[in-house]
């Protein structure tokens, strides 16, 4: 039956009856709730669309920027290719050899001879003498040649080198007995290969 209406209406004094089977108030409340739900959904949808539009704008801006940068890169590469094409082969070779020499100088200047000699001084026992120290600046591989009085002295040298943190990959490359000669006592001639890491690295 219809909604109750016993409350006195401010401008209508006589109350009436209601035998309607439909409940107007409930139906109106349902409509209002449905309208509110639709409005909320609509707002959410609008928000989602706004976010999507903003994201799309941002993506488009990034794509434009990327395309611009790629175009710039291509343009620079073409310029470089054009410049290189204009340089004669002989001049290029001269440049390359100069660059190679400069690099070697830079590498050599970066190599610490003093550090290497200090480390060797701490590792080489008294009965071992070094005749040749040959470093490769690029790979930091150092080749040592010398003479040890005995095999024990040579072993002492190898252990001493291995214990230093400045060296790694210490290998005995060659050993040969050297007979006594005038001015030269008998001993063991050797060659050792190692990697010099610099300041204990």
């Amino acid at each position: 039956m219809g909604s109750g209406h016993r409350r006195r209406h401010p401008t209508l004094l006589i109350p009436g009856f209601n035998l309607a089977s439909l409940n107007y108030r409930r139906a109106r409340r349902d409509v209002i709730l449905a309208a509110c739900a639709l409005a909320v959904l609509g707002l959410l949808l609008l928000g989602q669309m706004g976010m999507w539009a903003a994201g799309r704008g941002e993506r488009q801006a990034i794509a434009r920027r990327l395309a611009r940068m790629e175009g710039e890169l291509r343009r620079r590469q073409e310029e470089v290719r054009a410049v290189l094409a204009g340089v004669p082969g002989e001049v290029m070779k001269q440049y390359e050899s100069k660059v190679k020499a400069y690099n070697q100088i830079l590498e050599a200047s970066a190599f610490s001879w003093i550090g290497l000699l200090v480390e060797l001084e701490r590792s080489v026992p008294p009965a071992v003498s070094l005749s040749e120290i040959q470093p490769d600046h690029a790979s930091r591989v150092v080749l040592l040649r010398g003479v040890a009085r005995s095999f024990d002295d040579l072993s002492l040298l190898l252990r001493g080198l291995e214990q230093r943190t400045a060296f790694r990959d210490v290998y005995l490359m060659r050993q040969a007995e050297q007979k006594a000669q005038p001015g030269k006592p008998a001993g063991l001639e050797f060659a050792v290969r190692l990697v010099y890491q610099g300041d204990g690295k």
Partner: protein
């Protein structure tokens, strides 16, 4: 602003109105005649002889007035039964109270109580301290018949009430205090409604139409009115009627009022709906629209 619809045996009246700051604002109105026999109001049998025809009339009326959706409907008085019931106690919940009163009214209704649809207005305690309620009841299938006609015309009833109750609501300003009789003559029947302290308390439906208030039948009708007032005072405990308002009598209003005043010995006058509704500039036939206006402006 809501739509009010009066379904009568001879016409359908539809209007859009509201009451703002005590004044009536009547926006649209439209009416159409109903062929004789199409609506036969009553409590026992079917009321609508041809539902499709009535729906068609209603549909055309709505299209003419621009109405659709919810509407507050005033149905003919003979569809309903208005009774005051007394009880030691009423269930606190409204739906339970309805069921209880429906059961209590089982011997007063001309159809099985379980087939009744009932609504009530609580009254103050009676002389013996019993709880009283004024009940309006109608047969379920009769109301469903009208609701189907409305639905077929694209309408939904938010209120179904009796024509005289809606008319009394429109005339609230004249009926709010004391005990007043409202004699509403129609083309097929006449209703005498008694309103006590702003609450409908009793009605008597006379099967005599407005034409019967001519000279020939008038004495009998006057006696019927006088007997009804005496009956309701004695059996329903309603206080003495202070005055009677007449409506629907057209040109006979002044004549009938004079005779009735002499007969009853209390003031009798025509209902001035324009004054009751505090309206200006509305047509002369506003009295005919009382029920539809009352339905439209009532709270829902």
């Amino acid at each position: 602003m809501a739509w009010g619809l009066e379904i009568d045996a001879d016409a359908l009246r539809l209007c859009r109105a509201e009451r703002r700051r005590g004044r009536l604002h009547l926006r649209r109105r439209a009416e159409v005649s109903v062929p004789a026999g199409l609506v036969q109001p009553g409590q026992k049998n079917g009321n609508v002889a041809e539902a499709a025809a009535l729906s068609g009339l209603l549909h055309d009326l709505c299209r003419k007035a621009g109405c659709r959706g919810w509407v507050r409907v005033a149905l003919p008085d003979p569809v309903f039964s208005l009774r005051t019931l007394a009880s030691d106690e009423l269930p606190p919940k409204r739906e339970e109270a309805r069921r209880f009163l429906r059961w209590q009214a089982r011997d007063l209704l001309p159809f099985p109580a379980e087939e009744a649809r009932l609504d009530f207005l609580p009254l103050g305690p009676g002389p013996e301290g019993r709880v009283r309620a004024v009940c309006l009841a109608a047969r379920e299938r009769t109301l469903v018949e009208y609701e189907r006609v409305l639905a077929a015309a694209g309408l939904r009833a938010s209120v179904l009430d009796a024509r005289s109750i809606c008319l009394a609501q429109a005339a609230s300003a004249s009926l709010a205090s004391g005990t007043t009789g409202l004699l509403a003559a129609g083309r097929t029947w006449t209703t005498l409604l008694l309103v006590e302290e702003g609450r409908p308390r009793f009605w008597r439906i006379l099967r005599e139409a407005v034409e019967m208030w001519g000279d020939g039948e008038r004495p009998r009708l006057l006696r019927e009115v006088a007997d009804s007032l005496a009956f309701c005072r004695e059996s329903e405990g309603i206080g003495p009627v202070e005055r009677v308002l007449l409506t629907g009598l057209g040109g006979r209003t002044a004549e009938v009022a004079s005779v009735l005043m002499n007969w009853l010995g209390i003031p009798v006058s025509g209902l001035d709906l324009c004054a009751a509704l505090r309206t200006e500039g509305h047509p002369e036939d506003l009295a005919q629209w009382g029920a539809a206006i009352g339905a439209a402006i009532r709270p829902c």
